[in-house]
């Protein structure tokens, strides 16, 4: 067992244990934090496999942004942030799906890579990826910016509508520099929440 294998086993164990804790944790916030740890561990697995750039993306995007998105999502929905009401009744179904996925992946990966030598793996360097993007994949790269643009605009529109704006097209698609929202100071009163303490964070003075 080389040092490489040892690192892989450690990283894999941390990932597996935290993944199990995600689904067994009784506390929704803890589950989300364990999810962040799991995603970090997956980044570590990528690192062991020699895919440094993917590991970086994994940590920057998934741990840095997606996990935070999960936490914010928990905070602003009425999710039960507590010890109750977490046990899903679908354990058998979950077990079946997870087992089927495991068998499928094993059936694909073991025949495909089972005979490969276990010599040290080397992935493409970040320089090679940079060159490849701009040498061969410039057009998809620019199209990707359009895709991200669409995602951004969609996110802005959806969040605005959920925030309790009227949601009419004329209202939503309006672009005005400067005094865009000056005429609707009480947007949040329209949310319709009956929460007596108001919104956390937005007020701060309570």
């Amino acid at each position: 067992m080389t040092a490489h294998d040892l690192v892989f086993v450690i990283v894999g164990l941390v990932t597996a244990v935290s993944a199990i804790l995600v689904v067994t944790s009784r506390h929704l916030m803890h589950a989300a934090l364990y999810l962040a740890l799991t995603l970090t561990g997956i980044g570590g697995v990528f690192l062991v496999l020699g895919a440094g750039f993917i590991a970086l993306v994994q940590v920057v995007v998934y741990v840095g942004a997606v996990a935070v998105l999960f936490l914010f999502g928990l905070m602003l929905t009425r999710a039960p942030i507590g010890r109750e009401a977490l046990d899903s009744q679908n354990r058998g179904l979950g077990l079946a799906v997870a087992g089927a996925l495991f068998v499928l992946l094993a059936a694909l990966i073991i025949p495909a890579f089972g005979g490969e030598s276990t010599a040290e793996v080397t992935g493409p360097t970040i320089e090679a990826i940079g060159i490849a993007i701009f040498a061969d994949w410039v057009l998809p790269f620019e199209v990707l910016s359009m895709l991200l643009l669409a995602a951004l605009i969609g996110a802005i529109l959806l969040a605005r509508r959920e925030a309790g704006e009227s949601g009419t097209e004329a209202e939503v698609t309006r672009i005005e520099m400067g005094e865009a929202l000056a005429d609707e100071p009480d947007r949040h009163e329209a949310v319709g929440t009956s929460a007596p303490a108001g919104e956390l964070g937005a007020g701060g003075g309570r």
Binding site: F53, L69, E127, L152, G201
Partner: protein, 119 residues
């Protein structure tokens, strides 16, 4: 090849050792004389007037996180570009400028809507 990441591992080890060490030492050495005032919410955190459960946070937190996610993906593409910037020359610079400008459209749109004002 993994040995390149040894400094990062060291950083992890030192950071966790510092965190765990601080907690252990303070729990061993620190005096404990709790009283109700000391255990109350600290500084500006008032005692909650109502049940906090069921209170929703402002959707603006989620907005910021969603915008961050997408600009994060943009930033991910800056890493391989920055590493080979000199080899790519003007071609790379122009292409990345287009990429950033297209996403800048959404940024201007969001600012124009006043979405980044916290009011």
């Amino acid at each position: 090849m993994l040995s390149e990441y040894l400094p990062i591992l060291l950083l992890f080890v030192i950071a966790s050792a510092f965190a765990v060490g601080s907690l252990v030492v303070s729990s061993l050495v620190g005096p404990r004389a709790p009283n109700p005032t000391k255990l109350a919410a600290y500084e500006s955190g008032n005692e909650p007037l109502a049940d906090v459960k069921g209170t929703r946070f402002s959707v603006k937190f989620y907005m910021v996180a969603m915008l961050f996610l997408i600009f994060d993906i943009e930033a991910v593409f800056l890493y391989p570009w920055a590493v080979v910037l000199r080899e790519l020359g003007w071609f790379g610079l122009v292409n990345m400028t287009v990429f950033v400008l297209v996403l800048g459209v959404a940024f201007v749109y969001e600012i124009g809507r006043g979405g980044l004002e916290w009011d």
